[in-house]
Subunit: 251 residues, 2 copies
């Protein structure tokens, strides 16, 4: 690729960069889905595509946010470390997701660390250039306002989950969400990441996650490593009481 | 007040409405702090000031969001009910705060119920009119993007709190936040709402809150009803490990 990359477009980690993203790649991300070609071309001109290996730190809590990231493939964990060194996984971003948007928009130091869970392909969009575009592109502001709103609602659900549900119920809701496209009463699925990370995401210790899996066994949840079979979805649903409002359906 | 109020500006609850807010009243809210007089006049023209009694439901989970609310005085609790009827208090909005912003911007059904904890004075801003203004007013979009970002970060802290800290530590952090203006090692403060609501906000049962207060007694936390005296702030801080990043200081 012959495009010249600016200094700030190249975060200092072990990455293979692949030049600018094209319009089609940007539009794959829901956050940019509705934007027209002209605007996506402008965003692409301040963006870089990169591939990072598993376990790579992308950014560090407390640092300024220099990029908005969009994840094309792979998985990225966002975590926050308490002063005593314990760490909470706030979210695991799936392909198509973005991260650091509120921090870029508020021009505040990063609240969270981000690291790749698996080999990941990302688009890094320069924060200052994006903020500049925002001043003149109303449709970009509208798209980002909506994206921030959906991110906020996802976090509200997580707060409610943590306040209202037991670990076993939270695990049940998580498994149901993974199998939501099933129209039958059974499902076979694969956990998208290891149980250590799953425990951190659910906000429990690993031994509590094991206990939660054991509690769900009597409700027809069978596990073999990362493979999970749900034998009775309606019973699991009755027990876990998942939130019945789904933003994806409403959106 | 002689101003004619439109139908959608008047939610159907027991309220004393007091016409349109003036520019100075709107600007008291941090979300509108930076906006110029011209824009605030436009926002004021689609807003209504109202006073609601204690315990009044303002809006209901699942309904469309017809207004963005700014709280001038009083307190409003935002809660989410699970299918089994148990309810989690996600936030208690203090004076100057706003609520329902992400839901208005995403044009999605409300995730939460809102009710007044005490007699409250509010500004209700018509959602559709606000969304219309957003299409033509870049500085409004910028202000709302920043407000959403700060709301998001507050919720990230809460998720981390729930995942990383015990109930006693969460209570400690809460008490420290209430006394953050103290430069000495002691503080006397008043809980802004009752212990039932405090337990729900912290995500615990009332008996666990009592246990948490008991646990903090040995750290110099003395309580008399809603009055709390902190005798040794630095010791309470060591125990509770509050987040050392403060958006207000950075903002």
């Amino acid at each position: 690729m012959s495009t010249q990359l600016s200094e700030t477009a190249l975060p200092h980690f072990r990455s293979d960069t692949h030049g600018r993203p094209d319009i089609a790649l940007l539009r794959q991300a829901p956050v940019f889905h509705e934007l027209d070609d002209r605007l996506l071309t402008r965003i692409g001109a301040v963006s870089t595509v990169m591939t990072l290996p598993e376990g790579e730190q992308i950014c560090r809590q407390g640092d300024p946010a220099e990029h908005l990231f969009v994840l094309i493939s792979g998985q990225v964990a966002l975590s926050n470390a308490a002063p005593n060194g314990t760490s909470a996984v706030v979210e695991v971003i799936p392909p198509g997701g973005h991260f650091l948007l509120p921090t870029v928009l508020a021009r505040l130091p990063l609240l969270m660390n981000a690291h790749t869970v698996t080999t990941s392909r990302l688009i890094a969009i320069e924060a200052e250039a994006l903020l500049g575009l925002l001043q003149v592109e109303v449709s970009l502001a509208t798209a980002l306002l909506r994206a921030e709103a959906l991110d906020f609602r996802r976090l509200v659900r997580q707060v409610c989950d943590l306040k209202l549900r037991t670990t076993a119920q939270r695990l049940g809701c998580y498994l149901l969400a993974l199998s939501k496209d099933q129209s039958t009463n059974t499902a076979s699925l694969r956990l998208p990441f290891d149980k250590r990370l799953l425990a951190a995401r659910l906000g429990c210790r690993q031994e509590n996650l094991s206990r939660a899996f054991a509690a769900l066994r009597s409700l027809g949840v069978e596990t073999h490593g990362s493979r999970v079979i749900l034998h009775d979805i309606s019973r699991l649903r009755d027990y876990s009481e998942p939130d019945d409002m789904n933003d994806v359906e409403f959106a």
